[in-house]
């Protein structure tokens, strides 16, 4: 059997000396799976995604990413693990001084690819998310939904093996949300593992997918 892309084993997390946000969280993201991560605001969805991204270290428990124990991943290995993931941040984290096009192309640029080799690819994806005409705009002048779509495009552009999307449809209308969701399901059909954090029930109802529910620091599986 293929090893899981992400495996949490009794993971606990607290920020500094604060209360434990996650206790004994155990779950796995299997290759090619599609899952929702849900739970009330403040339950720790973003925290869990940051643990997968290795931008937080667990207070206890073990995390494996692509079969590698997270605590042992550092330096160049850390970069290569991150290159296998695409993340849509809840707060987008677009770079304010770059155009929409440049923001979306960023993962390719940091992989030191020639601009000529990806220009068409980036424009095509921008068209797909409805930002074709906004390629030259700066994030400051984009609407919330436009920023969100730019963030989604940036997460997808490098064709990652695992997509982590934190509330990716929070700022768009239901029709656009459906369209964006289809983008994720299409990619999933092509083999990408997808984890979408959301508390949008209507969105979750559109896909027959496994749901992980965070509540009071515990993770429940709800098939």
């Amino acid at each position: 059997m293929e090893q899981p892309v992400v495996a949490f084993d009794a993971v606990g997390l607290r920020y500094g000396q604060g209360p434990e946000i996650l206790h004994d969280v155990s779950f796995a993201i299997e290759p090619g799976s599609f899952q929702f991560l849900t739970g009330p605001s403040g339950a720790g969805k973003t925290t869990l995604i940051r643990l997968i991204l290795l931008s937080l270290r667990p207070s206890r428990g073990l995390i494996h990413l692509f079969g590698e124990e997270a605590a042992r991943i550092s330096g160049p290995a850390l970069t290569s693990v991150r290159r296998r993931m695409g993340v849509v941040f809840q707060d987008f984290r677009l770079l304010d001084h770059l155009t929409t096009y440049e923001n979306v192309a960023l993962p390719l640029r940091v992989r030191e690819r020639e601009e000529a080799s990806y220009r068409a690819e980036v424009m095509e994806l921008l068209d797909w998310v409805g930002l074709g005409t906004r390629a030259g705009a700066m994030p400051a002048v984009l609407s919330g939904g436009e920023k969100q779509r730019a963030a989604i495009a940036r997460a997808l552009i490098a064709r990652p093996e695992l997509i982590l999307a934190d509330e990716p449809t929070g700022n768009v209308d239901p029709a656009l949300a459906r369209r964006l969701l289809r983008l994720f399901t299409e990619l999933n059909r092509l083999g990408t593992s997808v984890l979408i954090a959301t508390h949008d029930l209507a969105l979750m109802d559109q896909v027959d997918a496994h749901r992980l529910v965070l509540s009071d620091g515990q993770l429940y599986s709800d098939a």
């Binding site: 991150r82 993340v87 960023l106 940091v110 490098a158």
Partner: protein, 306 residues
């Protein structure tokens, strides 16, 4: 300049630069390079002059004759000159005429003084042939024995004092250059750290979308290296233009009369100073680049992308 400082034009620079900080750093490095270049140039002038002067004085010795009552000084001078001429390694011996001897005292005593009644010491100037290994000690004792009041001066103590002075000046200048290079290194390190801390969110996002540390270090450090190179170039060029001025001032200051010009001659600056300035500027730029890279690496090691 704006383009050179901010790097590639095509896609927007990944790292924003703070124009005020950039200008300040540019000015600091340019000024420091200018000062270091001048210090190096000054040291080079002193070294060259001292070398020239030492070799000139090595080719010369003088025999001083103090007038003694009851002796014919002109006859003694002729005798001393003859002794000198016959000594091995002495190419020529010339009696300095009375007028010239008096002229030598002019700077101390002023002109228009009637010196004829004073017992002015007289000189015999020996031109030495260094190839023929002159034995000045032997000549000195011989002259002293045969002509009372005659002493030979080979300028050795002068040369020793002069090279001591020159070496001190060169040492101080070298120390200055080292301090300046260190100071510009510190300034660049400080600026790099400031830029990274100021763009912390950019650094984090770059790492989270898969940039290697190397890539990020390059984005930051290359900018500072380019800036330091340009600033060092400007400082170096300015020092290059100012250097002949320095030489001229030194020459003017030391050449109270024509004879002294050899000591700190304008000519002694030569062309050797320019490669030296270029070397100083290159060192400043290289150290700046090195420190910037090291600082950026350190920053990334110490922080975790969040």
């Amino acid at each position: 300049m704006q383009n050179a400082l901010h790097g590639r034009r095509g896609p927007g620079a990944l790292v924003l630069s703070d124009p005020t900080a950039t200008r300040s750093l540019f000015a600091i490095i340019a000024i420091l390079t200018f000062l270091a270049g001048l210090a190096a140039m000054g040291a080079q002038i002193v070294a060259a002059s001292s070398r020239e002067w030492r070799s000139a004085t090595a080719r010369e010795a003088t025999i001083q004759l103090r007038p003694q009552s009851g002796r014919d000084i002109e006859a003694d001078l002729a005798r001393v000159a003859a002794l000198g001429r016959s000594a091995p390694g002495v190419a020529d011996a010339r009696v300095l005429p009375k007028a010239e001897a008096e002229a030598l005292l002019e700077p101390w005593l002023g002109s228009g003084l009637d010196l004829s009644s004073l017992p002015i010491p007289r000189l015999v100037v020996l031109r030495l042939d260094l190839e023929a290994a002159p034995d000045l000690a032997a000549l000195g004792s011989r002259v002293a024995a045969e002509v009372p009041g005659a002493t030979l001066d080979d300028h050795g103590s002068w040369r020793a004092r002069l090279s001591g002075l020159a070496n001190t000046i060169i040492g101080v200048a070298a120390g200055l250059v080292v301090l300046v290079v260190a100071a510009s290194g510190i300034a660049v390190g400080f600026a790099t750290r400031g830029a990274m801390a100021g763009s912390r969110d950019v650094v984090d996002v770059l790492q989270l979308v898969g940039a290697t540390r190397r890539f990020i270090v390059r984005e930051f450090a290359l900018r500072f290296l380019r800036l330091a190179m340009l600033a060092a170039l400007c400082g170096g060029v300015a020092a290059g233009f100012a250097a002949p001025l320095l030489g001229t001032i030194a020459a003017l200051a030391s050449a109270t009369d024509g004879a002294d010009e050899a000591f700190l001659g304008a000519a002694s600056m030569g062309w050797r100073g320019y490669p030296l300035i270029a070397l100083v500027a290159a060192t400043v730029a290289a150290i700046a680049g090195f420190v910037s890279v090291a600082t950026a690496k350190r920053f990334l090691r110490q922080t975790r992308a969040t």
